[in-house]
C-alpha cells in the first residue's frame, strides 16, 4: 500500500485533497443534527437546561408597598413599566388556575370536572409538557379555558439570565403556536405564590417579563395540593378568608399523584357555587380581552416545525440509545476479550520452544523502497547488525530521490538491489518474492529499523510446519511528540493487544507491513500480493488465513517505525488503512459461507474485525454526542463522572498493555487528551472512508485496478 497509492489517489481526487475542511463537513453535520435531535428530545422531557435550584427569600426593599399589599395580577407592561400596578379579582368571582401541566393522566380528569360544571379556568402550562402533550393543549383551548405560560423548563427565574428568561418564554410560545396556533400574554413564574412574596430578587424578573408585554398572575389562595395534605385540607385552603372576596386559587394538574386535587376540585366548585361565586378566567374576571391570540404565518409554521422535529427526536431517541448501548457492549466486550485472552497469549509466548525445533536456516528480507532517502541507510544498517543469517533484497520502486544510489553506494555484501519502474508496493514485493533465495520471506518497510534479534524472533514460529505467516511487533519510534505519543498508545493498546487476542482465536487479520514474515509457499499459493485493495497487507493476511495456514504474533520481534508526524500525514495514512481494510473485508466476504479454514475465518475473524474495527468506531461518535449533550444540556456532574470512569478503565487496560509490552507507562499521561482529540479524528477518518466506500468506492476501485496493471517487469541490477 502506501506511497504509490497515495500519489494515485491524489491524482484521482484532487478536489478533496485541496479542500481539507470539506472532509469534516459531512461527518460533523451529521453529528450536529443528531445533537440537535438529542436537545429537542431533552427539551420535551425537561432534561435539557434542567435547574432545580430554588432561591431563598430575601429583602423586599425595592418592591413597592402597593404591590406587596395589592392583588395577585401585576401589570408592568408598556406605560406601566416604571410604576407597575396590580389588580384584584372582583368580589364574588373566583378563578381556578392549574400549574405545571398538562399531564396525560390528570389534566383530562380536571377538564372533565370543569366541563361537568360548565366552568372555565386558567392553565399555566410549561413548554416541555406542551410539546409532549399537544392533544391536551388543544382540548384545553377547545374547552374555552385560558392558557398562561409557566416557562419551558420550570426553573426559578431568579437564577436565570435575561437571555434565558426570554428564551424560556419564546420557546413556550413556539410550542403553543405549534400545538394550538395561539400565543398567550399571561405569565406565572415557577415557584411563585402570592404577590406579598415578591422580593428584591424576583421583582426584577416580574418587571423584565412585564416589559416584554406579559401580565404576571400570582395567586390569592395556595392550596398546597402538591403536598397531598388530604382533600379536606385542600378544600379548606381554597375558601376565601373574607366571605365574598374575589380570589385566584392555585391547584396543580401535573407533577405527581393529583387524585386529591381532582376530588377537592369537585367540592371546591360545589361549595363556592353554593356561596354564589362566579367561575371564570383571569382576563374575563379583569374585564380584559382574552390573553390568548391566534397566530398566523411564519410564527405558526415555525411552531409546527418545532413540534414536528421534537416528535421525530422523541421517536429517534430509543434508536440512538440502542446504538449507544451497542457501542458500550462492543467496547466492554472487546475489553473483556482482551483481558481474558491477552494473558493467555502472554503466558504462551513465555514458553521456550513452543514452536518445535529452533529455526536456524537463512531467510530473505524484502525492503520495498520508494523515495526513502532519509531512512534507507538506517534500515540497512540495522539489518547489518542482525544476529540471524539473512539475505536482503532492496526493491527500488522507481524512486526519484536517489534511494537506489544510496543503497548502491553503501555496497553492503548481503544486500541485493532490484531497480524497477514504479508499480506500487505489491508489485515491488512480488518482484522481491520472485528473486528470494530462501523459503522464508521477511517483509519490512524502507523506513523501519529492526533490532538485531528481530529477524530471529520473527522466524522462530516457522518451526511449526502449520504456521504460514508471522506478525511482528511494530513500535512507534518517534514517540516524543504529542502526536507520536498518541500513536504509541494506540499501537500498544489497539494493535498489539488486539493482535494477541486475535492470535489466541487464530484469526489475525493483519500482518503489519513494517514487520512480518511469510512462507514463500503460502505466498505463492494465494498468488502473491495483489493491488486490489489499498491495504495489501490485510488482503494477503486474510488470503493466507483462508488457505488454512496458521498465523501467529511474535511480540518480541520488534520493529521501530516512524509514525506520521503531522495531522495531515496521519489523516491520509489512516484514510488508506480504513478504506483499504474495508476493501479487503469486502474482497474476502465469501469466506463467511465457505467451508474449512476459510469458513472458520469468515465466521469468527471477519465478524470480529467488522464489529471491533468498523462498527464500534463508526458508532463511537455517539459516545461523544451523549457526552456533549450531557455536559452542555443535562446533568453535567454525572455525565463527567461516568466519562471519567470510562477513561479510568481505559487507562487501566492501557497500563496493562504497556506492561505486557514492557513499555514504560509515562506516555499514558497523554491518554485523556487523546480521548478528546485523537479518537475523534480517527472516527471521522473512518466515517469518511465509509462514505467513500458507499458512494464512489466502486468507481475508484476499478480505476485503481487499471493503474495496477501497468506494472513493468522487474529489472534486476
Amino acid at each position: 500500500m502506501s506511497r504509490h497509492q497515495r500519489r494515485r489517489q491524489s491524482l484521482l481526487r484532487p478536489r478533496r485533497l485541496a479542500a481539507p475542511p470539506l472532509r469534516f463537513f459531512m461527518p460533523l453535520s451529521l453529528l450536529a443534527c443528531l445533537l440537535a435531535l438529542l436537545v429537542l428530545r431533552g427539551l420535551a422531557t425537561n432534561e435539557v437546561f434542567h435547574d432545580t435550584r430554588i432561591a431563598q427569600s430575601v429583602d423586599k426593599t425595592t418592591v413597592p408597598e402597593s404591590l406587596l399589599k395589592g392583588g395577585p395580577v401585576i401589570d408592568a407592561r408598556g406605560d406601566k413599566k416604571a410604576n407597575p400596578v396590580s389588580y384584584r379579582i372582583p368580589d364574588k368571582t373566583v378563578v381556578l388556575s392549574f400549574d405545571d401541566g398538562p399531564s396525560p393522566e390528570w389534566t383530562p380528569k380536571v377538564l372533565k370536572v370543569l366541563a361537568a360544571h360548565g366552568i372555565r379556568a386558567d392553565f399555566f402550562v410549561t413548554g416541555s409538557m406542551t410539546t409532549r402533550n399537544p392533544e391536551l393543549i388543544r382540548q384545553i383551548v377547545a374547552g374555552g379555558h385560558e392558557i398562561g405560560l409557566h416557562t419551558f423548563t420550570h426553573p426559578d427565574l431568579v437564577y436565570q439570565s435575561h437571555t434565558r428568561i426570554s428564551w424560556e418564554l419564546a420557546q413556550t410560545q413556539l410550542a403553543l403556536a405549534g400545538v394550538a396556533g395561539v400565543h398567550s400574554s399571561l405569565f406565572r413564574p415557577p415557584y411563585s405564590s402570592d404577590a406579598s412574596a415578591m422580593d428584591d430578587w424576583n421583582y426584577p424578573v416580574i418587571k423584565y417579563v412585564g416589559a416584554h408585554g406579559y401580565l404576571t398572575a400570582f395567586i390569592d389562595r395556595d392550596t398546597d395540593d402538591w403536598k397531598r395534605p388530604g382533600v379536606a385540607e385542600i378544600v379548606k385552603a381554597a375558601m376565601p378568608t373574607t366571605p365574598g372576596a374575589g380570589e385566584l386559587i392555585l391547584l396543580h394538574d401535573a407533577g405527581g399523584d393529583r387524585s386529591e386535587t381532582v376530588e377537592a376540585l369537585e367540592q371546591i366548585i360545589v361549595k363556592l357555587q353554593g356561596e354564589g361565586y362566579r367561575f371564570t378566567t383571569i382576563s374575563d374576571a379583569l374585564g380584559a380581552s382574552s390573553a390568548m391570540v391566534p397566530v398566523h404565518g411564519f410564527q405558526l409554521w415555525a411552531g409546527k416545525g418545532f413540534i414536528w422535529a421534537t416528535h421525530v427526536s422523541v421517536v429517534t431517541l430509543p434508536l440512538l440509545v440502542g446504538l449507544l448501548a451497542l457501542v458500550g457492549f462492543l467496547n466492554f466486550g472487546r475489553f473483556a476479550l482482551m483481558i481474558v485472552l491477552a494473558p493467555v497469549h502472554a503466558r504462551r509466548s513465555k514458553r521456550q520452544g513452543a514452536w518445535g525445533p529452533p529455526v536456524t536456516e537463512p531467510v530473505t528480507v524484502l525492503v520495498p523502497a520508494y523515495n526513502e532517502r532519509e531512512c534507507i541507510a538506517n534500515t540497512l544498517n540495522s539489518l547489518a547488525a542482525s544476529d540471524y543469517p539473512i539475505e536482503v533484497i532492496v526493491i527500488d520502486d522507481g524512486s526519484t530521490d536517489g534511494t537506489a544510489d544510496i543503497v548502491e553506494e553503501m555496497d553492503l555484501p548481503f544486500v541485493r538491489l532490484i531497480r524497477k519502474v514504479n508499480g506500487g508496493k505489491p508489485s515491488a514485493l512480488n518482484a522481491g518474492v520472485a528473486a528470494a533465495s530462501y523459503d522464508i520471506v521477511v517483509m519490512m518497510d524502507g523506513d523501519t529499523v529492526f533490532e538485531p534479534s528481530t529477524v530471529r524472533e520473527l522466524v522462530q514460529p516457522f518451526g511449526d510446519p502449520g504456521i504460514g505467516a508471522v506478525a511482528g511487533n511494530a513500535k512507534v519510534g518517534n514517540r516524543d511528540s504529542l502526536i507520536g505519543a498518541w500513536q504509541h498508545i494506540e499501537y500498544v493498546l489497539g494493535h498489539n493487544l488486539d493482535r494477541r487476542m486475535y492470535d489466541v482465536l487464530n484469526v489475525i487479520p493483519t500482518i503489519p507491513g513494517a514487520v512480518g514474515a511469510f512462507r514463500r509457499e503460502a505466498l505463492q499459493a494465494v498468488g502473491g500480493m495483489s493491488d486490489d485493495t489499498l491495504a495489501e497487507d490485510t488482503d494477503i493476511t486474510m488470503a493466507v488465513l483462508c488457505e488454512g495456514w496458521r498465523i501467529v504474533y511474535a511480540e518480541r520481534a520488534r520493529a521501530w517505525t516512524e509514525a506520521p508526524a503531522s495531522l495531515q500525514q496521519l489523516w491520509s495514512q489512516r484514510y488508506r488503512w480504513s478504506y483499504g481494510s474495508m476493501q479487503a473485508m469486502w474482497k474476502h466476504r465469501r469466506a463467511v459461507v465457505s467451508r474449512g479454514p476459510a469458513g472458520r475465518f469468515g465466521r469468527i475473524g471477519l465478524p470480529l474485525v467488522v464489529l471491533f474495527g468498523v462498527v464500534a468506531p463508526l458508532l463511537a461518535p455517539l459516545v461523544d454526542l451523549f457526552l456533549l449533550y450531557g455536559v452542555l444540556f443535562a446533568d453535567t456532574p454525572i455525565t463527567l463522572a461516568s466519562w471519567g470512569g470510562f477513561i479510568l478503565l481505559q487507562s487501566v487496560l492501557s497500563w496493562y498493555a504497556f506492561r505486557l509490552d514492557r513499555e514504560k507507562p509515562w506516555h499514558l499521561i497523554s491518554l485523556p487528551l487523546q480521548q478528546v482529540v485523537y479518537r475523534q479524528l480517527m472516527y471521522i477518518v473512518l466515517l469518511q472512508s465509509t462514505i467513500t466506500a458507499f458512494t464512489g468506492g466502486r468507481l475508484r476501485w476499478q480505476k485503481l485496478r487499471r493503474t495496477g496493471e501497468v506494472s513493468a517487469a522487474p529489472v534486476e541490477v
Partner: protein
C-alpha cells in the same frame, strides 16, 4: 485494522527516528557504514518542512539580539485583555487569556536571561526601569488626592500617612491611597476614585518582589526544578485552602505573599523556559499535562460557592487563578514558535504591538485612570438634548466608555510615557510607533 507501519507519502516532514536504547550501541557501526558523502548530504540539506523548522527551535536557542515577536504579541494581547476586562468586567475574559500569568511568565523569562550577568546589577537595572514611571504616576495621584481632601490629616494619623508614603517610593507593599472621603475633583467622580486608580499597583508590587527574589529563585530552579516550580502553587493552595480566616497575619503581608504565590509558578515557568528546561522534556509531556492542570483549575472554580446572580470570576479565587494561569502559560510556552519576523497575517499589527510593548508600563499604569476619567466626560453628554433624546443607548453602553477611554489613554501615554525611555536610559520619544522604512510598505522588525 491494517498494518501500523509508517506509510507516509513523502518525507518532507521527517523527524529523526529514535533508535531504542538497547540498540544504541550499534549506532557507531551504523554511522561508519553510511558513506561520507551521504552523511554530508543529510547534514547540509535539511528538508524545509515545518517540523524541521521546529527542530531548529527546539535546540537551545542562542541568545539573539532581535526581539521575539511571539512574546511581544503575547504581551500586547495581555495588555489589551487587561484594559477590556477593566472596562467590561466580563468574567470569561480572564479565562480566555490569563493576562497576569502571561505577563509574569514573560517577565520571568527575560529576568532569567538577564541573570547571566551579575545579579545585583540586573536587579538594580530592573528597579531603575520600573520605579520612575511609578513615581510619576504616584506623584500625580497623591497630588490630586491631597487637593481633593485626602491629605495627611484626612484619616487622623498624619505620621502614618507620611511614613506609608515610603511604599510609593519602593512598593514592597501596596502604596497608600485614600479609600474614601474624596470630593470627586468637581468632576462628579465617586468618593473612592483613588481606590480605582491604584488598582494596577499590585502588579508592580508583585513584580518588584519577583525581581528581588529572582536570583534566589533561579538558583533554586537549577538545583530542584520540580520543587521550585510547584512551591508557589503549593503555597497559594495552602494559604487559600486551609487558612481562609487569616486575621492572624497582618493584611499587608498576607496580600503581598498571596499575590506572589498566585503567579510565582508562572514566573518560574518563564525562567524554566528561558533556561531550556521545558525543551528538554519529551515534547508530549507539556501538552498532555497542561490541559489536565487547567481542567483542575476550572473544576475548582466551578465548585466554588456562587452568587446566583453573577457568574464566578476567576480573579476572585487565587487557587483557580494560579492553577488555570499555570496550565495556560505552560501551553503558550510550549508552543513558543520564536518569531524573529512576523508571520504574514500578523504583520499588519506590528505597529500597535511595538507601541504597546515599548509603553507597556505606562499603558498598564494609566489605563484605569483613563477609564475612570471617561465616565464624567460621558456624563456631560447627558446634558446635550440630542444625546439625551436619541442616544441614551449609546451613553449607557460600556462600549462607549471604551471608545472614550482609549483616546484618553493614548493622551495619558503621550503625556507620561516618555518617562519609560528616560528610565531605560534611552532618548525620550513621545510616541514610539515604528516608522516605516523608506520604500517599504511595512516594517517587520
Amino acid at each position: 485494522m491494517t498494518s501500523p507501519t509508517g506509510q507516509r507519502g513523502r518525507h518532507e516532514e521527517t523527524v529523526p527516528l529514535r533508535v531504542p536504547e538497547n540498540f544504541a550501541r550499534h549506532e557507531d557501526t551504523m554511522a561508519l557504514r553510511i558513506p561520507a558523502q551521504w552523511r554530508r548530504d543529510h547534514d547540509t540539506d535539511p528538508a524545509p518542512g515545518p517540523e524541521t523548522q521546529q527542530e531548529e527551535q527546539r535546540a537551545p536557542a542562542p541568545p539573539r539580539g532581535g526581539r521575539d515577536r511571539y512574546l511581544d504579541l503575547l504581551r500586547a494581547l495581555a495588555l489589551v485583555r487587561v484594559v477590556l476586562y477593566h472596562n467590561f468586567g466580563w468574567f470569561w475574559l480572564p479565562l480566555l487569556f490569563p493576562s497576569m500569568g502571561v505577563m509574569f511568565a514573560l517577565a520571568g523569562s527575560l529576568m532569567a536571561r538577564s541573570l547571566s550577568r551579575p545579579a545585583l546589577g540586573v536587579v538594580r537595572g530592573r528597579m531603575r526601569r520600573l520605579l520612575p514611571p511609578m513615581w510619576l504616576f504616584g506623584g500625580i495621584v497623591i497630588t490630586l488626592q491631597v487637593l481633593d481632601g485626602g491629605g495627611p490629616d484626612a484619616d487622623g494619623h498624619p505620621t502614618w500617612w507620611w511614613a506609608k508614603l515610603a511604599f510609593w517610593l519602593l512598593p514592597l507593599s501596596t502604596p497608600p491611597y485614600a479609600e474614601d472621603g474624596l470630593h470627586g475633583l468637581h468632576l462628579h467622580l465617586e468618593s473612592g476614585w483613588a481606590t480605582q486608580l491604584v488598582v494596577p499597583l499590585w502588579y508592580l508590587r508583585a513584580y518588584l518582589w519577583y525581581v528581588l527574589l529572582s536570583p534566589l529563585m533561579l538558583r533554586a530552579l537549577r538545583r530542584f526544578p520540580v520543587v521550585t516550580l510547584l512551591a508557589p502553587l503549593a503555597l497559594v493552595i495552602a494559604m487559600n485552602g486551609f487558612f481562609v480566616e487569616h486575621d492572624f497575619v497582618y493584611q499587608r503581608v498576607w496580600e503581598t505573599v498571596n499575590d506572589f504565590a498566585t503567579f510565582g509558578s508562572c514566573w518560574i515557568l518563564g525562567m524554566a523556559h528561558q533556561e531550556g528546561m521545558l525543551r528538554r522534556l519529551p515534547q508530549y509531556v507539556l501538552p498532555s499535562l497542561a490541559p489536565l492542570v487547567m481542567v483542575a483549575g476550572f473544576w475548582y472554580l466551578q465548585s466554588r460557592p456562587v452568587d446566583p446572580t453573577q457568574p464566578t470570576d476567576i480573579e476572585a479565587w487565587p487557587i483557580a487563578q494560579a492553577v488555570w494561569s499555570f496550565g495556560f502559560v505552560a501551553l503558550l510556552l510550549h508552543l513558543s514558535p520564536s518569531w524573529e519576523r512576523w508571520p504574514a497575517p500578523l504583520e499588519r499589527w506590528n505597529g500597535l504591538v511595538s507601541l504597546l510593548n515599548s509603553r507597556a508600563v505606562s499603558v498598564y499604569l494609566w489605563h484605569v485612570t483613563a477609564l475612570v476619567a471617561a465616565v464624567p466626560l460621558i456624563d456631560h453628554l447627558w446634558d446635550v438634548d440630542f444625546f439625551y433624546e436619541h442616544l441614551k443607548w449609546l451613553l449607557t453602553s460600556q462600549w462607549f466608555t471604551l471608545v472614550v477611554g482609549v483616546p484618553l489613554l493614548a493622551l495619558l501615554v503621550l503625556a507620561f510615557g516618555w518617562v519609560e525611555d528616560v528610565a531605560a536610559k534611552r532618548s525620550p520619544r513621545l510616541f514610539p510607533y515604528p516608522r516605516r522604512k523608506r520604500g517599504k510598505r511595512r516594517v517587520a522588525v
